[in-house]
């Protein structure tokens, strides 16, 4: 009886709170419903990875088949290939990208010519603004076997679109081309926040510019670099679908070197309509992503709680 009363009390106080904060609740109602529909309901749909999806029967009516979707994904060798590619590409993007971004941030911060600095920064940011469709069109005009600019310059024509081993280099280069202008902004902002007195003191001590870069600027940037590196590592298993899909299209010759989890999931779903395998590879990706993000965030929290995601 007593516990029943307490329950009633807490329920009524809950409703009183709902009424009291109704405006706030209404204000976040639509975003809340949005993420429930577009983020949480699809999570439930992950059961598809363990089902033999039949369009007629829908997600919940389709029969369970245990781990069959996974076994095919692993036995066919696709799993190893796409996970390896995703991992290696991301690693290259993160490490090489960061070196280049920090490099240009330092140069931009040291350069005195105001207009030159503004102009070059604008030029470097431009590729970030275009879509991967346009970027792929540009890439084609340079690499195309028949008409490409590259083969016009080279004496011996190379058929880049039939040579998979070249693509890791092309894609890393493309990535740097498209996003390092954007990436260096955060480091540049960080350098600008260094107290100029530190540099003045170094000047008096007779430090040259290289010493100042190594002992002051880089030291100051180090925490940001570590954090950025860890945050990027958290997304190790999430590939840039737009980039890979638009540049490679469905060129089968290139796939061994360029197929990543995201493109694999997409092809399995829409080209070969293998919903089960698509869901299985997607589930694998989601779980790997979750584990890496949580681990990365745990380490970030240890280093500097300011930057933690949650």
């Amino acid at each position: 009886m007593v516990s029943n009363n307490r329950l009633m009390n807490s329920i009524s106080s809950f409703f009183r709170q709902v009424i009291r904060y109704r405006t706030f609740l209404l204000m976040i109602m639509i975003p809340f419903i949005y993420i429930i529909v577009f983020s949480y309901i699809p999570m439930g749909g992950l059961v598809l990875a363990f089902k033999d999806y039949k369009y007629r029967l829908g997600i919940f009516g389709s029969p369970w088949i245990g781990l069959k979707n996974f076994s095919y994904f692993f036995i066919s060798g696709a799993a190893g290939r796409v996970v390896r590619n995703t991992l290696l590409y991301n690693l290259a993007f993160i490490v090489i990208g960061m070196i280049i971004e920090v490099f240009f941030a330092i140069i931009l911060s040291e350069i005195r010519g105001k207009y030159f600095k503004k102009l070059t920064q604008s030029m470097m940011l431009l590729p970030f603004f275009i879509s991967w469709v346009v970027a792929s069109s540009i890439l084609y005009s340079i690499l195309s076997y028949e008409y490409g600019l590259l083969n016009n310059v080279l004496s011996e024509p190379v058929n880049v679109y039939a040579n998979p081993a070249l693509w890791p280099f092309i894609l890393v280069f493309l990535r740097i081309w498209k996003s390092s202008g954007y990436g260096c902004v955060i480091y540049l902002a960080n350098i600008t926040s260094i107290d100029s007195q530190v540099y003045e003191a170094a000047d008096i001590d007779g430090a040259n510019i290289w010493q100042k870069i190594v002992y002051i600027t880089l030291q100051h940037l180090r925490p940001t670099m570590v954090i950025m590196f860890l945050l990027a590592m958290g997304n190790m298993f999430r590939g840039d679908f737009g980039m890979f899909y638009q540049t490679i299209k469905n060129n089968g010759i290139l796939l061994p070197y360029t197929d990543i989890i995201d493109t694999f999931v997409f092809r399995a779903l829409l080209s070969s309509s293998d919903v089960g395998m698509s869901a299985a590879s997607g589930l694998l990706q989601s779980v790997l992503c979750f584990l890496t993000v949580v681990t990365a965030n745990f380490i970030v929290t240890k280093i500097d709680p300011e930057y933690a995601l949650f």
Binding site: I41, M43, L126, I130, V134, N208, Y307
Partner: protein, 305 residues
């Protein structure tokens, strides 16, 4: 004394020579990388104005040879297809950006209110979607089978209409607005929603500009949702329209036939490049005016409290 002076002088010369060496390297490296970033745009502009036979014979090049506007002529001769794609993209970008910026900033505002007791719980629910998601497969089936996303304009707007990441940026920004401002209005009897619209939004204009810029860019450059959900040609967005043109010579032929121009060889290469320019044009045109807001905006969310 003179020895000390001499020593100082030699170090200052040393410093100067280091500075000069650094400057030479810096200007050359930075200048060439910046050129490399814009050079490809120049190449496609050149190609789009080059006569098709010349491209066929000699390939793409750095200089315009045999100037021709054939590619543009064919595309613009029957503007129905491309102008339709333009119209679609403009509408989607405007509507989508307005919706997204409004809900993202409102949600961010509420979730940082200290007097809202459930903000932590809601925040957790929002955060979690950044850590774990169902992936493409269930999402696609949900949208096409249960939500009727096939060939609807809302399927080009809804998928990008809310972003938890942007909401967190908004929340961090809203924190920098002094709490006394909404408090004083509350004493005057204004409701929370009215406070948000009348007081907070005008103070958050830098935030709205940044979010608007990023969101508009994402809508403008979107081809993914169009590829997933749309197969009617008259509903294509610009980027997807370009993608379709680049991917198949067949699509180019259809456009050429509709234009009514009789051409001996289909100028597919210059058409592709002309199309790329027509699609990218507006971005290149507005870019010089917007990019400084963009740089400013990149650091706006970095304020964490």
């Amino acid at each position: 004394m003179s020895e000390v002076n001499a020593a100082l002088k030699s170090t200052s010369i040393k410093i100067d020579s280091d500075r000069i060496a650094f400057n030479i390297i810096a200007y050359i490296v930075l200048g060439s990388f910046a050129l490399l970033c814009v050079l490809p745009f120049y190449i496609i502009i050149v190609a789009s104005f080059t006569n098709e036979q010349t491209i066929m014979r000699e390939g793409y090049s750095f200089f315009i040879r045999n100037f021709s506007t054939e590619g543009y002529k064919i595309i613009l001769k029957n503007p129905a297809t491309i102008s339709r794609a333009y119209l679609n993209t403009i509408c989607i970008t405007i509507i989508g950006t307005a919706i997204s910026v409004f809900f993202v900033s409102m949600c961010g505002y509420v979730l940082q209110k200290r007097d809202f007791p459930w903000r932590r719980g809601f925040m957790l629910i929002f955060y979690f979607t950044m850590l774990f998601n169902g992936g493409l497969t269930p999402y696609y089936i949900l949208c096409t089978r249960y939500l009727g996303f096939k060939n609807q304009f809302y399927s080009l707007i809804l998928p990008q209409a809310f972003s938890v990441w942007n909401m967190i940026i908004a929340k961090n920004f809203m924190r920098t607005i002094p709490e006394e401002i909404p408090e004083s209005a509350k004493i005057d009897g204004a409701g929370e929603f009215l406070i948000f619209i009348r007081l907070i939004l005008p103070l958050a204009i830098p935030l709205l500009a940044t979010l608007g810029l990023f969101t508009a860019l994402a809508y403008w450059n979107d081809w993914y949702n169009c590829m997933l959900f749309i197969d009617k040609t008259n509903m294509f967005t610009l980027q997807y329209f370009l993608q379709e043109m680049l991917n198949s010579i067949e699509n180019l032929r259809i456009v050429a036939e509709k234009s009514g121009l009789i051409v001996p060889v289909l100028p597919s290469e210059s058409m592709k490049m002309a199309m790329t320019i027509v699609v990218t044009g507006p971005i290149i045109l507005v870019y010089p005016f917007l990019q400084r807001y963009f740089i400013k905006g990149l650091t706006i969310g970095a304020v964490k409290g």
